[in-house]
């Protein structure tokens, strides 16, 4: 299993929030991550990431007026790395139970403090053999643009497939069916994934 990248700090059935072990080291938008819940592995797609102060009452202030390089700020203020944190949101899109992949929501949410792992490309390829997860993605109420998330997810997944173009065309056709009445959304997504 690949190395853990963070830990769940808030979870619901449809999504979970995780904190990165390293500042500024969130997984890319749209990448597939997983969390263990007993015998079940829950899969999520990274839908949003943010870096902010640990204490909501103490917002960061600008410190680089005298510095030539950005890195110098962190070097001269080593406490900053402890006062800031990077979090990312993941949308739950399926799970694995008893060895079989299921492209629908798991029975229970991810436990808080469970480790979050980035999926291996082989795993991504396996998970994206079927496009059933797309319906969760396109219908999710996501902060910001859901279409961006769908496009990012497909772009990343396509990298794991041998025939990228064929994968994206098949995905596009699935989207065309799902977004039958929403032509502008379909166009927006297709433009973001076209090869």
């Amino acid at each position: 299993m690949s190395a853990k990248i963070g830990e769940v700090i808030e979870a619901s059935t449809t999504q979970f929030l995780a904190e990165c072990y390293e500042l500024h080291n969130a997984p890319p938008l749209g990448s597939l991550v997983k969390v263990k819940e007993g015998a079940i592995e829950i899969y999520g797609v990274v839908s949003n990431a943010a870096t902010q102060s640990i204490d909501p009452g103490r917002r960061p202030i600008a410190r680089g007026r005298e510095e030539a390089e950005e890195e110098d700020i962190y070097r001269k203020n080593p406490q900053l790395a402890k006062l800031l944190r990077t979090q990312f949101n993941s949308l739950v899109i399926g799970h694995q139970e008893e060895g079989s992949l299921r492209h629908y929501l798991p029975p229970r949410p991810a436990p808080v403090h469970s480790f979050v792992h980035l999926c291996h490309p082989d795993e991504v390829r396996q998970f994206t053999q079927s496009f059933d997860f797309l319906s969760i993605l396109v219908n999710a109420q996501i902060q910001g643009s859901g279409d961006e998330l769908v496009a990012a997810c497909l772009r990343l997944a396509s990298e794991t497939h041998d025939n990228k173009r064929a994968f994206l065309i098949s995905a596009g056709k699935e989207m065309a069916v799902l977004l039958g009445g929403q032509l502008s959304r379909l166009n927006a997504i297709l433009k973001r994934i076209r090869q």
Binding site: A176, G181, Q195
Partner: protein
């Protein structure tokens, strides 16, 4: 995505799509799979719909485009990008087929034995639609045998479409199409079929000398005709000995018609071509009453002006102008060289003798391509033959003997004999309507089917039609056929030559055929005819084999 389902199981055609809507009367709507291009589809082609319990055999009658969202048609996606074009093809936009199911093939052993049945229901939603395979077409249209004659192939296929000739000759049939589309070729094919399979004896009124010895193709090539293939089974009768001699056709008999054989009804039929008025037709009947049915023409032509004629006219109450009109027409007849006051021989009797012996007769008109001569001769001869056949069939029924051999009379320019004004009076109208009982049927060839009496058209058993331009003609050919509007689409899309729509008794369902090749050495061999040189070589080989 559905790559697996596109794999063709053995003996099955390629998968085209699925049924999404439809009705028995309007046909089924089929959504094409994304992998199938609409451009590969063609109206008139066959498809098989796999129902749950039976398979439906149908024909594509329309191809159209559909879109999942009407907005797409207003703001089209950026299809200059091949990726987007590929994505929307078959999903947001897709091809549609209109398929009319025609026959069903049951799945059980019993229904397989019964063969294809007319369709009475429709396949359920989402039934898979495939292109008909060669085997499917063979199951429907049979193989060539003693009764089935191979007329052509379906569009884009190599399978044979066979016509059931024994069904064909049971009823009168029609062959229609614009001039130059291939009517003569198909007629020649059908005649060869009937002679070869011995299903009927033929009498052909050959207006343009196409069916006897040789004919010509559109590109001016000479093609062999009946006599060259069946020298012992075909006799060429001629009206114009000189023309035959010039064309180096050996004729078996020169036909002459005596004045005594022309009856008033014959003149009535010629009313239009001789430009006669109604009173002058009445005058003919009066003259016939005066001089007798067999003598009137000779007497009328012998009438000179003067007192005698005037007295006769006033006695018969014939107006002077009517007489002049009639006289002009009769003089035109008198100028026809094959029309003589007293025929040397009884042509009709001779003709019947040939037909009795099972010899097919082609009557060549030579230079007399004038419609007057054609209508007159065809009518005079056919009337007599009709009477004979009728008498013989009735006798056969009474004595429980074998009825006379089925006779098929081929006439061209049929609207001249069968137009609504004369169809009720002419012998051809009678034959078309009822002569099936007496074993005489017609093969009607015409380019203006709308000119033919509707009652006659409705009695035709099998119709074959090449493209027609005139709306009235199309309506008249397709009158009373189920799925008429769909067939109309098919008919309008036929290529201008060699493609014909055949429907009726001799075929299980309407079929578009590309008529088989005719005119090349190979095509003659396909009929089973061998060239003289080949025959000689074969004979020599056989002698060698025999004697070592």
């Amino acid at each position: 995505m559905n790559e697996e389902s596109l794999v063709t199981p053995e003996g099955q055609g390629k998968r085209l799509g699925i049924v999404v809507a439809g009705s028995l009367t309007k046909g089924m709507e089929v959504k094409l799979d994304a992998a199938i291009s609409v451009e590969d589809m063609a109206v008139g082609r066959y498809v098989v719909i796999e129902g749950e319990k039976q398979r439906f055999f149908g024909m594509i009658t329309d191809v159209s485009l559909g879109a999942i969202d009407q907005k797409l048609t207003v703001t089209p996606p950026d299809v200059s990008d091949s990726f987007i074009a590929q994505v929307v093809a078959g999903t947001s936009t897709y091809g549609k087929l209109q398929v009319v199911p025609m026959l069903t093939i049951g799945g059980s052993a019993i229904s397989l034995l019964e063969g294809p049945q007319p369709v009475k229901t429709v396949p359920p939603h989402f039934s898979v639609v495939r292109q008909a395979s060669e085997q499917d077409v063979e199951v429907i249209f049979g193989q060539e045998d003693q009764r089935h004659f191979y007329v052509g192939t379906p569009l884009d296929m190599e399978t044979k479409v066979c016509l059931n000739l024994s069904e064909f000759v049971k009823r009168s049939n029609g062959l229609f199409g614009k001039s130059g589309t291939g009517k003569t070729f198909l007629t020649r094919l059908l005649l060869i079929g009937m002679v070869q399979k011995n299903t009927a004896v033929n009498l052909i009124f050959d207006m343009h000398n196409e069916y006897g010895w040789e004919g010509s193709s559109e590109d001016g090539r000479k093609v062999k005709a009946l006599k060259q293939f069946f020298p012992s089974k075909v006799a060429v009768f001629a009206l114009d000995e000189e023309s035959s001699r010039r064309r180096r056709v050996s004729t078996d008999y020169i036909v002459e018609i005596g004045y005594n054989e022309i009856e008033p009804e014959d003149i009535e039929l010629l009313r239009e071509t001789l430009n006669l008025t109604q009173p002058s037709i009445e005058a003919v009947y009066q003259l016939a009453q005066e001089f007798g049915d067999h003598q009137w023409l000779e007497s009328a032509l012998a009438l000179k002006g003067g007192d005698e004629a005037r007295q006769l006219l006033s006695r018969l109450n014939i107006h002077e102008s009517s007489y002049r009109n009639l006289r002009r027409g009769l003089d035109k007849l008198g100028r026809l060289p094959f029309l003589v006051p007293h025929a040397r021989d009884n042509s009709v009797q001779r003709l019947l003798e040939y037909l009795d012996r099972g010899i097919n007769v082609v009557l060549e008109f030579g230079r007399y391509t004038d419609i007057t001569a054609y209508v007159l001769v065809a009518n005079v001869l056919t009337r007599r033959i009709h009477a004979q056949y009728r008498e013989r069939t009735e006798r056969a029924m009474g004595e429980d003997a074998a009825p006379p051999r089925p006779l098929v009379i081929t006439i061209e320019e049929a609207h001249k004999f069968l137009n609504p004004e004369v169809a009720r009076q002419t012998i051809f109208g009678t034959i078309a309507r009822e002569m099936r009982k007496y074993n005489v049927t017609l093969l009607i060839i015409d380019q203006r089917p709308s000119g033919i009496d509707q009652e006659v058209m409705s009695q035709l058993g099998t119709k074959a039609t090449y493209p027609l331009d005139n709306e009235k003609d199309i309506d008249s050919v397709l009158a009373g056929v189920s799925g008429k509007s769909e067939l109309k689409t098919v008919l309008s899309k036929l290529e201008s030559r060699q493609q014909a729509l055949i429907f009726g008794h001799a075929v299980p369902m309407p079929v578009v055929v590309r008529t088989r090749d005719y005119g090349s050495a190979q095509s003659y061999r396909d009929f089973g005819f061998q060239e003289a040189a080949e025959l000689k070589a074969k004979a020599e080989q056989e002698i060698k084999d025999l004697w070592g």
